[in-house]
Symmetry: C2
Subunit: 229 residues, 2 copies
């Protein structure tokens, strides 16, 4: 395991301040067309390392990121992603993979190191492991579990990239089996999403609106519409 990253860029590539999260959340739109301007290596590393800070159940981190930058490879990815042009255009497209089995082999290392770092007591590691395995093997549908977790990491990466001033496009349209075959992803790896990162080529598309809170939020019980005071 590693410590928190310490040497992240403190500004956007043009020297401007990072966008506040409120601006990121309100101004972010899914980008349909990208320029070919590259994401500087220092920023790409920072974006990946920030995504790796996302929370996961038992700290199992079941997400994996396949970073595709080579133009030929993006063309191959585009062909298994319903021909979406942004996959061919964006300088970086990340394939998010959720590993359904690998945690069984890494849990021991994760729990022992966590305990050494002060998160939990070393003499509880075995008990903790038993309860984690019981919970995951007994109660969880693993494709659902890794989708949920990997979506958390994807969301984290998307907002980190936007805070640094880049444009992004999350995608769920692809032939998962073909993506797996093209990029050497093992059978246990669920292809959860793609995320394009780069610079928008044209102004953002219009904001399509959102449900008002009283339609999606409830107070105390499902169906009791939330009222803003």
């Amino acid at each position: 395991m590693e410590d928190k990253p310490t040497n992240l860029p403190r500004t956007r590539p043009d020297g401007g301040e990072l966008k506040p999260l409120t601006e990121v959340l309100l101004e972010r739109r899914a980008t349909n067309h990208f320029t070919d301007e590259e994401v500087p290596e220092e920023y790409l590393n920072a974006i990946l390392r920030l995504a790796a800070q996302a929370p996961s159940g038992y700290n199992l981190q079941p997400w994996r990121f396949v970073v595709v930058r080579n133009a030929e490879n993006r063309k191959r990815l585009k062909s298994v992603a319903f021909g979406q042009e942004k996959v061919g255009e964006a300088p970086v497209v990340v394939i998010f993979v959720g590993m359904k089995e690998e945690w069984k082999r890494t849990a021991d290392e994760i729990f022992r190191e966590g305990a050494e770092r002060g998160a939990g007591r070393p003499d509880n590691v075995e008990q903790y492991k038993v309860s984690a395995f019981q919970f995951l093997e007994g109660m969880q549908h693993m494709p659902t579990w890794v989708n949920r977790h990997t979506a958390i990491a994807m969301t984290t990466m998307m907002y980190a990239a936007e805070a640094y001033g880049f444009d992004t496009a999350p995608m769920e349209g692809f032939d998962a089996a073909a993506v797996r075959a093209e990029f050497g992803i093992p059978e246990e790896g669920e292809v959860v999403a793609l995320l394009a990162i780069g610079r928008a080529r044209q102004p953002d598309k219009a904001y399509p609106g959102r449900f008002p809170l009283e339609r999606i939020a409830f107070s105390e019980r499902f169906g009791e519409a939330w009222k803003e005071k």
Copy 2:
């Protein structure tokens, strides 16, 4: 549909600046014990409205938030969440629900209003709807789809709350059928996660570490370890 929220608080409740996203991502820890200090109504509304800005496939927004604040209800929720103390302690616990069927009834309204707002052309709405239904009914395992989407909204809410200076704890340990029964959640609603929001009662637990990038990120192809330049 609604426009973007415009009147969000510009500071934390104590007047301090919002945390930058980099600080949120690096300093956030899952909180185990909360004080009973309430989340001010203005902030809770802002956090909910920011979460509602999360992206979703076709803008279908399949997430629903059941906001539980009443102490008796939190006690009931705790009893179906493996007795986790934070559920009883935190002043706000949000139950995240993903709706597997409701989008079929709301898609028409979403697409028409989106087109009116300039996101897509009005004469393409029918075709767009056909392709959305084809994609979702044909290719997607709906529990997985709503888990993925609802996790995006949950992640967004967690970071929004943290940016405003609150502490949070995402949870996946609960008896979903019992949560559904206790809070009137319909059969089609997947209980995806819980999120506690409030103020930590004690210092954060230790950082358990993360996998280094070379173990979770790959360059161009799964298995080709990412190297930081």
